[in-house]
């Protein structure tokens, strides 16, 4: 066993659980609805970063299309929330449809009358789409840059669709459900601790599940495929099968992110399907460290926090700062910021052999 505490599994689990406990304590420590809402948004971004870390860091598949799952789920959630507001008898059609000359509710929208069905579709549709899309790509042994380009094209296609189908999606304006999400008779105010804790709960559950999965035999095969797909294929594994599953799980995580996002912002527009969001998720994961789920989460919080709290005069140059950080990370820190932590911990714990450090992060290869 390596002496570096960074690679110690118990320490890793402690770090993960410590982080999530800390995040869960925020509503107790701070009584600021604005802050809670903002941190809930960061938690959603962190989910996206985790999905990128899984598919790219562990699976070796650079997907620029995580926004597809995020956006589809966001629209599903937006539709569910919109239909909670509509009344089947007196006001069955959302107002933006009426202004688009649509007098009856389209068939596509009918299932969203029921909140459970709506939620199920919100998660199931993107996940099933990712299974199909992934099967199509990986059974043809599409890899590397071509996956990036194909996911990019698919994302652009969905963006065009959301933009164009104005009577169904309200196009550029997007859907803004007039009321907060209501579940089992409880209204979830986007600025409430409940909404925040739901987001953090999703983030924690998904991250820990992925971490557990990646420590299993399945996860080891996935990481082996990342390092050398040919060799794993020769060993008799069905590479495409593993890649499709990983891709689908990452889509599922991104879909959960999209669901939480609309719950927290009460708005959905084609921007969730823009290339910018998908690439930003890749940036967050890369800056924090794509080989580590915790790294990706930290990257999402750090980059977004930096953006929000940089002074106003610096907002103009924010994109320049972000671009420079990103180039710097790609050139000099391929393992991201947690790579630095790994080296530092290795320096201290590796030499003295004492386990004094309290922070430990996911094992990297």
């Amino acid at each position: 066993m390596s002496a570096n505490i960074y690679h110690n599994r118990k320490a890793q689990w402690l770090a993960y659980i410590g982080l999530f406990l800390l995040l869960a304590l925020v509503p107790v420590l701070f009584d600021s609805p604005f802050l809670l809402n903002q941190l809930a948004r960061y938690a959603v971004f962190a989910m996206l970063a985790v999905s990128v870390s899984l598919v790219w860091g562990y699976g070796g598949i650079l997907s620029l299309g995580q926004g597809i799952a995020f956006g589809l789920a966001a629209y599903g959630m937006g539709m569910t929330m919109q239909m909670q507001f509509q009344d089947p008898v007196s006001d069955p059609v959302p107002s933006f449809m009426l202004t688009n000359d649509l007098s009856t509710l389209p068939l596509l929208w009918e299932p969203f009358w029921s909140t459970p069905v709506g939620l199920a579709l919100t998660i199931a549709v993107p996940t099933i789409f990712f299974i199909g899309f992934g099967a199509m790509m990986f059974q043809a042994r599409v890899a590397g840059v071509f996956v990036a380009i194909m996911t990019l094209a698919m994302l652009a296609a969905w963006y065009a669709m959301a933009y164009d189908m104005q009577p169904f999606t309200s196009g550029f304006n997007g859907i803004s459900p007039p009321m907060p999400f209501e579940f089992a008779g409880v209204s979830i105010d986007p600025y409430s601790p409940t909404a925040y804790l739901i987001c953090v709960g999703f983030l924690a559950a998904l991250t820990l599940a992925v971490k557990l999965l990646m420590q299993s035999k399945f996860g080891l095969v996935v990481q082996a495929i990342r390092d050398d797909p040919e060799r794993v294929r020769f060993l008799g594994y069905n590479v495409a099968y593993y890649q499709v599953i990983v891709f689908a799980i990452s889509g599922f995580i991104a879909a959960c992110g999209g669901l939480c996002w609309v719950m927290v912002v009460q708005y959905v527009s084609p921007t969730s399907l823009e290339l910018t969001l998908s690439v930003s998720a890749v940036i967050w994961a890369a800056v924090g460290g794509r080989l580590s789920l915790l790294g990706a989460i930290l990257g999402a919080y750090l980059v977004n926090g930096l953006q929000s709290y940089m002074g106003d005069e610096l907002q103009d140059v924010w994109m320049i700062v972000l671009g420079s950080i990103f180039i710097g990370v790609v050139l000099f820190l391929p393992r991201g910021l947690v790579g630095l932590i790994e080296d530092a911990l290795g320096y201290f714990t590796g030499k003295s052999e004492t386990e004094t450090a309290t922070v430990a992060i996911e094992r990297t290869v």
Binding site: I149, A160, I283, S324
Partner: protein
């Protein structure tokens, strides 16, 4: 919205006009993609900042016209030189460190594109800028039922000229032979005394220069905005990948994709046409990831 509103019925004259528009779209995609084809084909570098090089070309034209009163046609070679010098700078500082790491070039150049967009926004502001085209290009070509603005015809011709020039350099000069040798086998080329790093630098600069010229031409078509480049990058990439990263392949794929886009948008509308086209491209790449045309020597 009913089905009959959505589908435009077939009508021969306007359909032929749509085919003509398709050619114009093809020329725009091709000229945006040709620099990318060369850079990707030669170096395997995914340059996500290509759209921003196009944007820089457009803004350079604007600056040359507005502050130095240089006529439009003279701007084109100047823009080529200026943007290729910038391309050389990028290659030396960033791209050079990332050879053999294609996914990382994709990411690093994405970071670069963020910097370029915001840099231009800080310098020139968000207000749209304009490139004025010479008056003699402001005519309308009308052949019976076909209508095409003169400037679009000019772009088609300029694209043809640039493609011919690139083809000539690649296949009829010693320089082109060296480039193709490096493409085929960098190690073997090195052992014959070809400095592949130098070839890469110049190739990247040349591709960047072509993007600059594309930007100068696009400037005459639409308003200049700092994020205008992102509108071209997806299409340009698809042209390159569908074509198979060869010059000839890009020509074919841009014509096919441009015509398909125009035909689809004739029957439906622009954005829905994009959806159909992109979906078709994804399916096409599933079955033929190597693209339309592959050169024998590049086959693995």
């Amino acid at each position: 919205m009913s089905v009959t509103d959505f589908w435009t019925p077939f009508e021969l004259n306007s359909f032929l006009n749509a085919l003509f528009i398709g050619l114009s779209i093809a020329s725009i995609w091709l000229i945006a993609a040709v620099g990318l084809t060369i850079i990707y084909g030669t170096m395997g570098v995914i340059n996500m900042a290509h759209g921003e090089l196009i944007m820089l070309g457009a803004y350079t034209t604007y600056v040359l016209q507005t502050f130095f009163y240089i006529p439009f046609l003279l701007c084109l070679p100047l823009v080529f030189v200026i943007v290729s010098i910038f391309g050389l700078f990028i290659e030396r500082t960033i791209i050079r460190r990332l050879y053999n790491r294609p996914l990382d070039t994709l990411l690093a150049t994405w970071g670069l594109s963020l910097i370029l967009i915001q840099g231009v926004r800080v310098i020139f502001g968000t207000a749209p800028k304009y490139v004025s085209i010479p008056g003699w290009l402001n005519f309308q070509v009308s052949l019976g039922f076909l209508h095409l603005p003169g400037f679009r015809l000019f772009i088609i011709l300029a694209t043809a000229a640039l493609i011919f020039g690139t083809w000539y350099i690649a296949y009829r000069t010693t320089w082109g032979i060296r480039v193709r040798a490096v493409m085929a086998d960098p190690d073997m080329a090195s052992s014959f005394g070809i400095d592949s790093n130098r070839i890469y630098s110049i190739t990247f600069a040349y591709g960047a220069g072509l993007a600059g010229v594309a930007g100068a031409l696009f400037g005459g078509l639409k308003t200049l905005l700092p994020d205008m480049g992102s509108g071209y990058i997806v299409e340009a990439f698809l042209v390159v990948v569908v074509g198979g990263t060869q010059l000839l392949g890009s020509i074919f794929s841009s014509i096919i994709l441009g015509e398909l886009a125009s035909i689809f948008s004739y029957f439906t509308n622009d954005t829905f046409a994009r959806f159909v086209l992109f979906t078709l491209i994804v399916i096409f790449l599933r079955f033929r990831p190597q693209g339309l045309i592959t050169e024998g020597m590049k086959r693995r």
